[in-house]
Amino acid sequence: MQAGNWFIGVDVGGTFTDLYAFNRDEGTVALHKTSSTPQNPAEAIINGLRELAAKSNVPLDAMASLAHGTTVATNALIQRRGAKVAVVTTRNFRDLVEIGRQIRPKLYDLKADYPMPLAPREMRFEVSERIGPQGEIIEPLDMASVDAVIEQLRDSGTEACAIAFLFSYLNPVHEQAVKARIQQALPDIAISASSDVQPEFREYERTSTTLLNAYLQPAFSRYMSTLKDAVAEMSPTAHVGINQSNGGLMSIDKARDYPIRTALSGPAAGTIGAIHMARQSGKPDIITFDMGGTSADVALIRNCETSLAFDRDVAGFPVRMPMVDINTVGAGGGSIAWFDRDGLIKVGPISAGAVPGPACYGRGGTEPTVTDANVVLGRLSGHGLLGGAMSLDEDAARRAVGKVADRLGFTIERAAKGILDIVSANMVRAIRAISIERGHDPRDFVLMPFGGAGPLHADGCARALGITQIIVPYSPGILCAQGLLVADQSESFVRSQRLALDAASAPVLAGLVSELHGEALAWWQSEAIREDNRALKLAVDMRYASQNYELQVAVDAELADPALPDTATLKQLFFAAHEQAYGFYNPDDPVDVVAVRLTALGQLPSPGTPPLQDGASDSPKPRTTRKVWFEQPEAVDTPVYDRASFAPGARVEGPAVIDQFDATTLVFPGDVATVDEALNIIIDRARTA
């Protein structure tokens, strides 16, 4: 590791591949953007690295770490560009994955259906075998039926194959035997077994996750192989990590086997970046709010940790795996304000997108958007976005918002403020869902807005939620890329097994923890993670014996010898969690453990604080003033500052506007903004109502 001092984050999107390089020793930052290459996304990464090296004098052989976030898997699912895929199931159950949960996505819409499975019925094959609810073998695996399926797989020309049997999460032996047999007979096809991908209860969700994984495997595998070879050649000492949905990094080899784990990794990186900033500012409890052009992602961070969620939809299919608990709402800068048939006004989820974009972009958009409302109110400067590289057409914004104003009989400014209030209300609902509805009082948290549009809307959300402090990170627009650089390597291990929570179960639980610990040790070894960089987290999923939704309870664990507390203590922890989540608990009812989870971490050295810019001062002067509408019907003459001119200790009283390359921060009248040592802006809100 000492060979290099450059840390590089690469974010591959559908259109562009972004590179963010940070020199740990010198604090130097270099940015580069290049066109993505959807056929083999690794090409763009390699090209981008070479271009970055040439342009910014980043010696690639001095790269210590390459952290890679990718939307390739997500896009392949949305656009249905994966492999020809088959699934092998327990006999009599090939339709399970098409029946799903037998529900319709919209109760009142006679034409809305969930999508058909990626493996159509003729690509779903059955073998004779059956495992029972204790993991016992009810019907042994019939190898002749497996061989018959292998012939069908061969004839079908399939490129990938998922294997998903009932109760395989309790006993994987049949799935593994079938996997080995297929692998031997058909070495060129990719195989995913549900007992490897996500060995957990609920056959439909497990099968769906496994099928998506298999569908992505062939293309992802080529992509990862190209990347691995190229990086090995260019930067032999670099550690390569692929960002996954739980916010940690995995190795290239893991990513090749489990591409589905990258499917929700983009927003996860943002929360990891946010945690890094929050830690530097000494704020352990924050609610993050990442607002871009079409949507906003919100997450809750408590004690510098995100909580995990397990069930999400990706491209219309359910996926179950550990992922950062993020709530997404269709509210972004491009969200359009429109009147419904009952005359009520809505904002989003329809978005003007990048083309035509908000009316003020001057690309032919005429519908009023959130960005237009911000321009009308002077909150966004007509001189534009991206440090002035893109100017905004104030007249077009006023014309667009004027349509709303005319219909309501309001002034244009009042209509614009109404649009922003509605978008705030939408975001507040999303934040409530991850805070109040999980038993957390948002008033105990600091709000951290990021993304291009986040800092403009922070005050509205904070006000509605009673949050008194806002922290705007140093670079709100590239927090996701920064998150890639500060993420740990991580791997989650789970034992899904239902046990009564009583003293008799203690030895079984201890055995599970010891098995998980053994797997973690093997993983640390295989990833060559030094002992002083290792960390682990232990958690138990519990519920009342009669419930079906478990609550995850984290327990403290020693790195060297992780162990659970006694079962009475676990029960008390569960009661506390139930009280927090639902407002009550039943002390006399039996409690079950349903899973034990261990997350092994490998901590990577993390970058320090960014350097000060020339001319930065702790008493910055405004660049100009402009009229801005805040809460009152009249505009206020408001000083406009450059963020680059702020040094630690700078203090600005609202009203103020703070512009930077990719974001604009508002300080409302009466509020006070200060800059901390990590160059984050802390806004203390004077008004609580």
Binding site: R101, P120, R202, G418, Y582
Partner: protein, 567 residues
């Protein structure tokens, strides 16, 4: 009382806050409940009503028939208790369809009053289908019951909590009268907690908005929805549209029970006249008028404006004419447990009537049932009684631009299936097979969706099976030339073969090694089969959802088409 004028932006923001509350209570109830029917199958609903009992907001996943029960409960509370007797901390509970606005006994209705500025502002409500409410058959849903007294415990509107104090006597009565009381207690607690949560959240909203603002917002929401629905009705060509169909069987010997509808559309009003439908029957497929209203409200929304907000404004547009004591407007002591089957039929009939007026929005008859299967017995693993209740989806009818959907819940119900891994872990039962039934969706330009077959056997003990089926005798019809779908059936399989059971079987003993076969109905196709595309027919064949024989019989041109060289 005078209302303040209120702008659309404020309406949207305040409504958004109330929508948050009903969504939150919906999820809290689902996650903390004990019975699989709520926690996995989501057979529950949450809503907020105003002080006059008008429905204001409901959780998105709420079920139409539940909402009808809630508004029924509202009327009953307001009729029974003068304003002075509705106090903070009260919690009302009820389930009876004849005296408390319910639609069948297993749906237990809760409501807690909301007070703001010292005045009654409304109620938070939730309703959940308990897996048992007592009565003569486990699961309280079996066929063969001839009076509501046999269907379980009848609860009129009572206060389970008075000013925050639980009336333990009432809880004790409810628990003593249900099978598996521990599970019931857990579900009651979850419902009570959801009420309290809702009250707390609404009071928080009350700190930000005045009572007068909130009342104005409620009025606007209802009035705007009503106007919007009226406008949608106005787009339907004026005329008289009639349709009729029959129910298979009431479970007590009455078969082919006719239901008739005449819809008169004039301008922005539609009158639903059910005169001429059969008198109420002895068996438990009768429909209380509230549930008939729910069917009409569902159909109006689904046919005319699926995105409209669900509140009192829609209910106000449901103009219904019915004969008291008929199957669509039954009176005490009519049994009603399986009323959802009839409700599904009412919706098919409404869609059939409207198909002439708005053909592009109509669909073929769907599985028209709420196929119910209840297994009970003593779990040999622990000696405790168990009860497993489930309703299964079937075919969804063909549509004007796409095939119907195979194996899905239709119309007024959208409850999930229970995972096989959950069934086998919780109950001493084994699922032997689960899949689509070949040739079960009716042929058509766009074919109907197919039915589901599920086979279950008891493990290591003898269990009892109760069920309720519909469209087991009278097939779901197609429209505009589409063919009917395959009817469903129940059967008992022993080593030697399958014995077909009644449409509404009750108390069937299932020995170890024997199996219950549940086959749900398919659905009708849309349009002339001769117009079905070659590609779709190829898919029918390759997927094996249809046999070659069926395709040859129902698509006579297919042999000729196949003989032509590929294009």
């Amino acid at each position: 009382m005078t209302r303040e004028a209120i702008d659309p932006i404020t309406i949207e923001i305040v409504a958004s806050a109330f929508r948050s509350v009903v969504d939150e209570t919906f999820i809290a109830l689902m996650k903390s409940a004990y019975s699989t029917n709520i926690k996995e199958r989501h057979d529950h609903s949450t809503a907020i009503c105003d002080q006059d009992g008008r429905l204001i907001v409901q959780a998105d996943m709420s079920l139409p028939i539940h909402i009808a029960s809630m508004t029924g409960l509202m009327k009953s509370i307001l009729a029974k208790y003068p304003p002075s007797e509705i106090e903070e901390g009260d919690v009302f509970v009820a389930n009876d369809p004849h005296v408390a606005g319910g639609t069948h006994l297993p749906d237990i209705n809760y409501a807690a009053p909301l007070f703001l500025e010292g005045q009654l502002m409304g109620f938070v409500c939730n309703i959940a289908h308990h897996a048992d409410i007592g009565g003569m058959a486990p699961g309280s849903m079996a066929g063969g019951m001839s009076e509501i007294y046999q269907e379980g415990l009848r609860i009129p509107v009572v206060k389970l909590f008075r000013k925050g104090q639980i009336q333990q006597d009432i809880m004790d009565i409810m628990l003593l009268n249900a099978r598996i009381p521990d599970e019931r207690r857990g579900d009651h607690f979850a419902q009570i907690a959801a009420c309290r949560l809702g009250v707390r959240r609404v009071l928080e909203i009350g700190q930000r908005y005045s009572l007068s603002t909130i009342r104005s917002v409620f009025d606007e929401l209802v009035e705007r929805t009503r106007a919007r629905m009226r406008a949608a009705i106005a787009e339907v060509p004026d005329g008289i549209y009639e349709f009729d169909d029959v129910m298979d069987d009431d479970g007590l010997g009455t078969v082919d029970i006719p239901i008739r509808l005449k819809v008169t559309v004039t301008g922005d009003r539609a009158i639903f006249d059910w005169t001429g439908s059969a008198p109420q029957v002895r068996g438990n497929i009768n429909v209380p008028i509230n549930a008939t209203q729910a069917a009409v409200a569902y159909a109006l929304r689904a046919l005319l404006d699926p995105e409209i907000a669900n509140n009192q404004g829609i209910i106000d547009c449901c103009e219904i004419v019915s004969e008291k004591g008929s199957i669509v407007d039954c009176i005490a002591p009519a049994p009603v447990a399986a009323r959802a089957n009839t409700s599904q039929r009412l919706i098919d009939i409404i869609i059939g009537a409207f198909s002439r007026a708005i053909p592009e929005r109509a669909v073929g008859a769907s599985n028209g049932a709420n196929t119910t299967a209840v297994f009970s017995g003593i779990d040999p693993r622990n000696g405790k009684p168990y009860l497993y209740f489930e309703t299964l989806g079937g075919g969804f009818g063909g549509r004007n631009d796409r095939d119907g959907k195979d194996g899905v819940q239709v119309h007024i119900t959208n409850t999930s299936n229970l995972p096989i891994e959950a069934i086998e872990t919780e109950y001493p039962l084994r699922v032997v097979s689960y899949g689509f039934i070949q040739d079960s969706g009716g042929a058509g330009r766009y074919r109907g969706g197919g039915g589901l077959r599920r086979v279950i056997e008891p493990v290591g003990h003898e269990c009892i099976f109760n069920g309720a089926g519909e469209r087991f005798a009278n097939a779901p019809w197609g429209i505009f030339g589409g063919q009917p779908g395959r009817p469903g059936r129940f059967a008992l399989a022993d080593g030697s073969g399958e014995t077909q059971l009644e449409v509404k079987p009750s108390g069937v003993d299932v020995a170890p090694g024997h199996r219950i076969v549940v086959e749900t109905p398919g659905s009708g196709g849309y349009g002339d089969p001769a117009e079905r595309s070659d590609e779709a027919l190829d898919n029918d064949r390759i997927s094996q959802k249809y046999s070659k024989d069926y395709l040859a019989r129902h698509y006579p041109g297919i042999a000729k088409r196949a003989a032509q060289p590929p294009r």
